[in-house]
Amino acid sequence: MKALWLCRYDPVNTAFFGDAANSLKQFDLVVVQHLFMTGTAQFAHVVLPSSAFGEEEVSFTSSDRRIQLARQAIESPPGPIPAWEQIARVGRAMGADWSYKTAADVMDELGEVVPFYSGASHDNLAREYGRQWPCTKDRPLGTQFLFADGSGGRRFKFVPVPKPALEVSPKDFPFTLVFGHSLYYWNQNILIQHSETLKREYRILLLDYPDGFVEINTADAKALGIRDGEKIRLRAASGSAVAAARVTPEVRGGTIFVPFFVREVQKQILGRAHSGHQIMPVRVEKETT
């Protein structure tokens, strides 16, 4: 791969595993369409400023399969245009016959190419909060539940997943490290940096825990003699990391929660040969400096 085109996607800040920043450096051409100079846009050779939500008519598909139509409410400031229009213009400049006039035209073509979007015209989407795909010509109202009739061989099949054998003894590594989203994931989200109230919360977080934090249950912390804000060392078979402890009853006993944004902890503890497993046994030690 030599070139990458990213449409409103910010993997440098939002891809939890892997090293997007380093990968982007290896491309000859990176094009980023976004509203803001995101972490990813810093690595781009070309940045195309695109319209914001509410400045264009556009559809979204969310993870519950819902295709929703967002209407234009205000005009864009001069300059930014809808992302689909930027792609179409580049296409035309390269000789393609892309003569869409509106986002609805693009959606109509999507419907021709993707069978389960065939009924999802803007006209149809505008009638309700959205339609869940498959939304076809003969099922224009969409499908609330997949395989609801229970027929056919296409239902989800559940298979047991073998529990990975622990490579280490739980005696030596009594805590389980859990990676996940955090309420304090804010500093990674470019939109939240533009919200005054949430920016305040973010600044406070940095004041309280300048280097990020990992969360440990109150009872566990008490047993280990760890106080809030104190540095602790997490030791796993593959590596170790030091982080500030946030002592809170919000995490279960026996677990250490690592918010995704504390990237250093993640990198150090997973070591080089990490498998991508999100759960790993660790030991907690007080870090004495």
């Binding site: 309700e128 109230t197 004041l207 309280d208």
Partner: protein, 364 residues
């Protein structure tokens, strides 16, 4: 209070009258599904104004107390600093504001202007605001599952604090009631006519009937809740139960027509220019109570949650603002993902007090 009758077809002429007086008019519009919102009336959208519709979630208080508002501009010039306050006093009207939201604005009035310190930014906007209240009479469209204004004593028809109140009497007629001289002045328009005793009787009958269309389960045990909150009788465990269900999103505050909290922040807007803004703030957020030194007296979520309900229900505040800081609009119940809107919390408090009340007399 003087009243007049007008035809349904003429109701929107009130909007026209206000607009002719160079008034920016905001009115409710329907969207898709349950979506409704207040928007500025223009020549294009004037005919789409809805009289009967579910109350928009984003409360109209923002036309007096904006979500975000510049307070002053600070500029560096000629080696000095220039500070210039930004006052805005647009002539505005809210058409179709529900009775609960009228009560919300009255609560804000008491908070911002009711005592020694008067908030000049609020006052300037407020004195130029004209409120056209619409009483909720359509059980199918006006009154939602979560509405409990009858319990909060704010609706379905406001008794005061509006300039003009409209009520659909059915049969193609509306009754307009003037709440202020400014409201009464509108009655000189030709489409208003005098009413009869029959109209007044009809209004009374409709109100009596509408009161019955509220969901019985939304009847809150406010009185018990107020008594127990005021006396500090709520057990820590109940607050913890409530706090555990809070996701700290602040949604309840942003839809509340009676919440008054704000924070103040400075932000750079030009190379030599900073603006000071005030922004709605939410007690659910950790930063709301954190001190500059790092100590947060209400660090645990439930400590911040009980703060919300103290503020809304405690006798101390009711005495100060002359109304409790809950107007029964039900928005918090509709938006809360943890189901700890006001009706649920009052219910949890009621259950707890029922537990406490179980003490048996000792027969000795």
């Amino acid at each position: 209070m003087k009243a007049r009758i007008l035809d349904s077809a003429d109701v929107l002429k009130i909007v026209d009258l206000l607009r002719q007086q160079d008034c920016e008019v905001f009115a409710p519009f329907g969207g898709r599904g349950r979506d409704t919102c207040y928007d500025k009336v223009t020549d294009q959208n004037r005919d789409q104004i809805q009289i009967h519709l579910p109350n928009p979630y984003y409360p109209p208080k923002r036309f007096i107390f904006p979500h975000i508002e510049r307070l002053m501009k600070i500029q560096r010039s000629d080696g000095g600093i220039q500070i210039e306050p930004t006052y805005r006093e647009p002539k505005r009207a809210i058409f179709g504001i529900r009775s609960c939201d009228v009560a919300g604005i009255w609560h804000l009035d008491r908070f911002f202007m009711g005592r020694d310190y008067r908030d000049i930014y609020y006052e300037k906007r407020r004195k130029n605001m004209f409120l056209v209240n619409v009483a909720c009479t359509d059980p199918a469209r006006d009154i939602g599952e979560e509405c409990f204004c009858v319990c909060a004593d704010t609706g379905p028809a406001a008794r005061e604090h509006f300039d003009l109140q409209l009520m659909d009497l059915g049969g193609g007629e509306f009754m307009a009631v003037a709440g202020t001289p400014a409201g009464e002045a509108l009655f000189s328009a030709p489409f208003f006519r005098k009413g009869t005793e029959a109209h007044v009787a009809k209004r009374r009958a409709i109100l009596g009937e509408v009161r019955k269309s509220f969901k019985p389960s939304t009847t809150s045990w406010f009185s018990a809740a107020i008594r127990h909150v005021s006396a500090g009788k709520i057990q820590e465990k109940t607050w913890e139960d409530i706090g555990r269900r809070c996701l700290e999103c602040g949604g309840c505050t942003y839809v509340c027509p009676a919440c008054t909290c704000f924070t103040v922040s400075d932000r750079q807007v030009g190379p030599d220019e900073v603006e000071r803004v005030r922004i709605w703030d939410a007690c659910a957020l950790g930063g709301f109570t954190r001190m500059a030194g790092g100590h947060n007296p209400r660090r645990a979520v439930h400590d911040r949650r009980n703060r919300r309900f103290f503020r809304k229900l405690s006798h101390y505040f009711i005495q100060r603002e002359l109304s409790m800081a809950c107007v029964g609009c039900g928005r918090c119940a509709a938006v809360c993902h943890g189901d700890i809107g006001m009706p649920s919390v009052v219910e949890m408090i009621r259950r707890e007090t029922a537990e406490v009340d179980k003490h048996e007399p000792v027969a000795r």
